[in-house]
Subunit: 330 residues, 2 copies
């Protein structure tokens, strides 16, 4: 594409990861001392040790912000993605999938350094997912690799909290945030994981008080961030700190909080939760797509719930059905 | 394992392949001039050209005989598998999955030569699968790599017709067949694909008149092999040529033919066929498991239908649910 017509509705930035997913019992988590429903960073050796004991796996492209961009592209908006892979087999798989779904991949795969990131995702019988991520090449995203023109062109920037775990990528995301703000664009941010919130508590409080306009997270993440004991307390705490805060609450739906309004959104019903991986990511897809289209917040939340419902009914964190019919409802 | 306690219920031999599966419209097949529901051999470049146009894909371990062995292991019999991969990412994925399911992988991954085999599997909305296979490392299985002690130990040998396409692997499978026969064991064989039957017609007629005891194939494959116009004609033709012939007929179930009996087996009902990849392979799993356990042919066929039904209700050619409950029914 020529630089002159570079314009996106939204650009996402995050760790570019391939998910290696298997269904395991709770015993597996206990045996490996894993905290259910959380993400642990592991080195290549530990990832391999877990993999050795896993059942046969399905491999699908993942990465939180990448999943969100994939959902938005399927809904019909123009999206770009900043996340780094190596040009190895997993990297080619990741790039193929994100481009096939219609997202522009804006970082050249590297030919040196660690291999493409992978996450060993253990899905337990209740549909919970416990992730063990080896960051590999994704942790080598440098500030020079942020396509500033693309970021400045987009109405929204979407940032993944996970990327805060590495100093190199944190610098890159901070640059992207400053480019977006200077261009007068909206910055959205997802809290990603309770442990992530704990690791970066002070910095994220400053970020939320500063450049972040739209905040995503689940109930536990908001409790951890706010230091509150109850959801009501956390709602009260976040209210007015950011323009829009979305709190996802699994089967209890979600709450959208602005300075003026608190809007409750029902969860979209499903027969059975097969694999909850990507539920939060795809809620963000639906919600942000609604904002891009200028829908009111209630509709944005409803689209979020619908898209999240699609992704939890099958194995893998990206939609397997066309989502266009959802948008035709509004 | 020490060589002294080497003993298997069954050993399978075939092309060790990783499936890269996407859902596509019929238009995709027309555009690429692909024959629906068949397997085409492609070179690395052609595989890559198809991949470039595919939707986001799911990657799962496949390979016809490997799928059959996986099903038998899940049902609870002791199985080994002879099929070659390279020690690259796809090869490690394949070996992990087959061992995790409980099958002994009996060929050392190679560190040189072409990469691990992959098949681009295009699933159309009716659940049909059209495969484009790059054989890579799987086509370099040499006679020296046949573990003769393991083959001789097994009550059954299971051979995949696909492997006949390459002179090297054909020699290896012929050796395995002669070892099994000399040890007084049963040889089973699957016709794999109509085009495969056409390519090897004369040799397979001799094989069936010779060492093959149990033959698997679908209706089209039997018609092509027999030269008959009708299923009745083909049944009449195969009757008595092999000890047991199984003819799978998709939603119409299957027919088991021996010199004395023709047994009709109903298909096991499913709500929706998501992806028919592996249906024939897993029918063979169920049937052969029944034989291993000494069940009568009607029960063998019923188990075959049940196991095939499991695999067509999700994407991917290997079972995703435990199969032990099926065997507890008999």
């Amino acid at each position: 594409m020529s630089n002159s017509d570079l314009r996106y509705d939204i650009i996402g930035i995050g760790n570019a990861i391939v998910d290696i997913i298997s269904h395991e019992t709770e015993d597996f988590l206990i045996r490996h001392q894993l905290v259910k429903d959380s993400m642990s960073l592991v080195d290549e050796q530990a990832a391999s040790a877990i993999y050795d004991e896993m059942h046969p796996a399905v491999q699908t492209s993942g990465g939180s912000a990448a999943n969100t961009m994939a959902g938005i592209a399927l809904l019909g908006a123009s999206t770009g993605y900043i996340g780094k892979v190596k040009d190895d087999e997993l990297g080619k798989f990741f790039v193929h999938d994100i481009e096939a779904i219609g997202v522009d991949h804006l970082v050249k795969p590297t030919s040196s350094g660690p291999p493409t990131a992978r996450s060993m995702v253990l899905v337990t019988p209740d549909g919970s997912r416990t992730m063990n991520t080896y960051l590999g090449a994704s942790s080598t995203l440098y500030v020079e690799e942020i396509n500033s023109e693309a970021v400045a062109s987009a109405d929204f920037l979407y940032c993944e909290g996970y990327i805060w775990d590495v100093e190199t990528t944190k610098k890159a995301i901070r640059l992207a945030i400053s480019i977006a703000k200077e261009a007068g664009k909206k910055v959205s941010f997802t809290l990603s994981d309770t442990f992530c919130v704990e690791r970066h508590h002070q910095e994220w409080l400053e970020l939320i008080a500063g450049p972040v306009d739209i905040l995503f997270g689940n109930e536990d993440e908001y409790l951890s961030l706010s230091g509150c004991q109850t959801l009501e307390g956390a709602i009260d705490w976040i209210r007015g700190q950011v323009e829009i805060a979305c709190i996802t609450e699994a089967q209890n739906g979600s709450t959208i909080v602005t300075a003026e309004h608190i809007i409750g959104i029902d969860a979209h019903e499903v027969d059975r939760v097969v694999d909850s991986t990507g539920a939060g990511d795809l809620y963000a897809s639906g919600f942000l797509f609604g904002l891009i289209k200028g829908f009111d917040l209630q509709i944005c939340g409803k689209i979020g719930s619908q898209v999240a419902a699609e992704v939890i009914t099958h194995t893998g964190a990206r939609p397997q059905s066309p989502l266009a019919e959802i948008t035709q409802m509004y």
